[in-house]
């Protein structure tokens, strides 16, 4: 019990400190090990897009809305890349049941995203992802500036609008 009290205290403490500079202190991508499709260990803190914005989207093969979101974006992805230089990183949280199916499915659908495998949910937990799809927008400095859960038709238009704002140096709402 003592340690619980201790931890709670520590958090109250820390949250106070964090709240003070929340404005300038955006959360960076955490350092967690995931795998690439060819089995390499990859540190998520190394995700970057040469100073351009990045979309990080958590999905799984069994999640219909996730597939919907990624399929919808796939249709316009080339245009997005040419216009804004954005890169989409699709983080699959499929577990050992279907991690091996992720690569063939992504290829079979002709998606051009960078795909990462988070088979035991380490990246998911570090990003506080609860339900999927959960999509993050990361600015050129690797800071998370915006996030959204769920997908409905047309949400992708809002997403690319955020990317354009980032490119223009405008403020992005934090929600």
């Amino acid at each position: 019990m003592k340690k619980i009290i201790f931890f709670s205290l520590m958090f109250t403490f820390v949250m106070g400190a964090a709240a003070q500079d929340a404005e300038k202190n955006l959360k960076k991508l955490p350092a967690v090990n995931v795998k690439t499709l060819d089995g390499k260990v990859f540190n998520t803190a190394d995700l970057n897009n040469d100073g351009k914005p990045m979309i990080v989207s958590f999905w799984a093969l069994w999640c219909k809305p996730c597939i919907n979101e990624l399929t919808t974006i796939a249709d316009v992805y080339q245009d997005w890349v040419e216009e804004t230089g954005v890169k989409l990183v699709a983080v699959s949280i499929d577990d050992a049941r279907s991690t091996s199916k992720v690569g063939p499915t992504v290829n079979g659908k002709g998606w051009d995203y960078e795909v990462l495998l988070d088979a035991n949910g380490d990246f998911k937990r570090a990003m506080n992802v609860n339900m999927i799809p959960h999509t993050f927008l990361v600015n050129g400095n690797g800071e998370i500036v915006w996030q959204h859960t769920s997908f409905s038709e047309g949400s992708e238009l809002q997403l690319i609008e955020m990317v354009r704002k980032l490119n223009r140096g405008e403020a992005v709402e934090s929600h």
């Binding site: 619980i4 931890f7 520590m10 964090a18 959360k27 035991n120 409905s152």
Partner: protein, 551 residues
């Protein structure tokens, strides 16, 4: 206490480095509340409390290479479908972790997976009430690029307690190309790995008969070896696992060793993906408590080699792995008919075909016996590559998805299932369920932000509860609002008095990563996908409120 003491020591040290200035707190929260109405017809019983609620919150603190976190959970009382042993409040999960280039050390509760999880996987599925987190210490050491060594020790979460067994594990993974071929001259990538996991549980008195007391091993060892080879679009990977004698309630206290093997090969290129997998499982239940039979305290993970369906009716008969023995095969082809081609249409057409088949393993009686032996014996022998005679599950499914215009897209799917309800659900004597499922799912964009989705699902079977029909209509205003009306109708039930409707209305509001949904109606147990997210839900009748938030 050790961890708390460590952190107490760490705080003044790091404060000197402006620790708190660079730190960041993040977290998430989920609340599920259900208000119940009794409906004896569909099996929703009177709930004395009238309403029940689950909630949890994660708080995570990160600062450079240091992170710490905790999760508070509250089940007052656990909503239907959750294990009643969750009842209560507390902080069952906390950890502190730091890392540098080579080391990562974690104390407290943690999740970990070795290889495909055949000998060790601790993980959580919050919405299913599953959590076998280890509590102890874990070290990850990467002496050079391409080498990852892990060691851990801990006990497992058992609702609000810890299980009685201690789990010890070691794992090594070696990416040969990163070690020996730093200039990347070879196109073929080879990764090898191996693990060793052992559990210790004090021996106890368990009898196999009137005067037969079992001598139980206190230490049970298991090991696994794996490989992964890829070249261009080709990949092949496999893992073999073996577990020493581990008599338990799960295997009826037999002393046979357990084993499992998974082999998968795939080829893919842009527009085409093919994968074939095979898996054998024999006596591989591995728990940190001998007498446990539920889903708690699993040390390893034995996933089903079948497709995880995402529609209510195709997910109605999901296969569950038989840890005592099964032979599984699965194949899948994904193909995209090119954009702009005659058949593919302006946007192309996606086709996916999947097949899986799972049977029993062959079990031969031991020498001198006429039937496979029971408690206290070595059980049976089983030829490694032989398929048993009993079919557990078969699934053939095809899915075609096409965008016809900028405004309209359609998915059609056909699924044929054979489901051994006797073995999978333990309904002795019930005949094999043979079901045909048809699905059509169309979405029409009214404007840039507004869309209507119509879903038709039809399940035809002569067995179990007979035929089902589901209609669903969903209206969305991106990115914030949705409204869904659905009805599931068991119109083909042989018992005319049980031809129930399961109507439900659901609405939700999303504000960034904050989401509030309300659902009113009757709910069958299963995967529920509404308003843009999917989750597993128990059977209920009444009002469900879900609030999720992340920051």
């Amino acid at each position: 206490m050790f961890a708390a003491a460590l952190l107490l020591l760490a705080v003044p040290v790091v404060r000197a480095q402006n620790f708190l200035e660079g730190g960041r707190v993040s977290g998430n929260f989920q609340l599920d509340a259900q208000v119940y109405r009794a409906d004896s017809a569909i099996g929703a019983f009177e709930v004395a409390e009238k309403m029940r609620m689950n909630s949890f919150a994660n708080l995570l603190y990160t600062n450079g290479n240091f992170s710490a976190g905790l999760r508070a959970e509250s089940y007052l009382n656990p909503i239907l479908g959750y294990d009643p042993r969750y009842k209560g409040n507390g902080v069952p999960y906390w950890f502190g972790s730091w890392r540098n280039e080579q080391f990562e050390i974690t104390v407290g509760n943690f999740y970990e997976q070795f290889g495909s999880g055949m000998v060790l996987r601790s993980y959580e599925e919050r919405n299913l009430g599953y959590d076998n987190a280890l509590k102890g210490a874990k070290v990850r050491f990467s002496p050079t690029e391409g080498v990852v060594l892990k060691g851990l020790i801990g006990t497992q979460r058992y609702f609000w307690e810890q299980g009685p067994g201690i789990v010890r594990g070691l794992d090594g993974e070696f990416a040969l190309n990163d070690i020996f071929d730093k200039e990347a001259k070879y196109r073929t990538r080879v990764t090898l790995g191996g693990s060793f996991v052992s559990k210790y549980q004090d021996t106890e008195e368990i009898s196999a008969g009137p005067d037969e007391l079992l001598i139980l091993p206190a230490n049970v060892a298991s090991w696994a070896a794996r490989f992964n080879i890829s070249r261009g679009g080709f990949a092949i990977d496999g893992e073999y696992a073996n577990k020493m004698n581990d008599p338990s309630a799960m295997n009826d206290y037999i002393y046979k060793n357990g084993e499992s093997m998974l082999l998968q090969t795939s080829y893919s290129t842009r527009g085409l993906g093919v994968i074939v997998s095979a898996k054998r499982t024999d006596n591989m239940s591995f728990k940190s408590k001998r007498t446990e039979t539920g889903s708690a305290l699993d040390i390893n993970y034995l996933p089903a080699l079948t497709r995880q369906h995402a529609y209510a009716l195709s997910a109605m008969y999901p296969y569950a792995t038989q840890p005592n023995g099964e032979m599984a095969l699965q194949g899948q082809v994904n193909y995209k008919i090119k954009r702009g081609s005659k058949i593919g249409g302006k946007y192309g057409t996606d086709i996916a075909i999947n097949y899986s088949r799972i049977t029993s393993i062959q079990r031969d009686p031991l020498d001198g016996d006429t039937v496979p032996g029971g408690a206290g014996t070595a059980g049976y022998t089983s030829p490694f590559l032989a398929f048993g005679n009993e079919l557990y599950f078969r699934d053939f499914n095809i899915e075609i998805q096409r965008k016809f215009s900028a405004d309209f897209k359609l998915l059609v799917s056909y699924v044929n299932l054979k489901y051994n309800i006797d073995v999978i659900e333990g309904h002795p004597g019930d005949p094999m369920v043979n079901a045909h499922i048809f699905i059509a799912d169309g979405t029409y964009r009214l404007t840039d932000k507004r869309a209507v989705k119509l879903e038709y699902q039809h399940l035809l079977t002569k067995e179990d509860e007979g035929d089902w029909l589901q209609f669903l209509i969903e209206y969305t205003v991106a990115p914030k609002w949705y409204l869904t009306v659905a009805d599931q109708y068991n119109y083909g039930n042989q018992d005319k008095d049980r031809r129930f409707h399961y109507p439900a209305v659901s609405a939700g509001y999303t504000y960034g990563s904050n989401r509030l949904t309300l659902t009113y109606g009757k709910q069958r147990e299963g995967i529920l996908c509404v308003g843009g997210v999917c989750r597993n839900v128990p059977a209920s009748n009444g009002l469900t409120i879900t609030l999720t938030s992340a920051f």
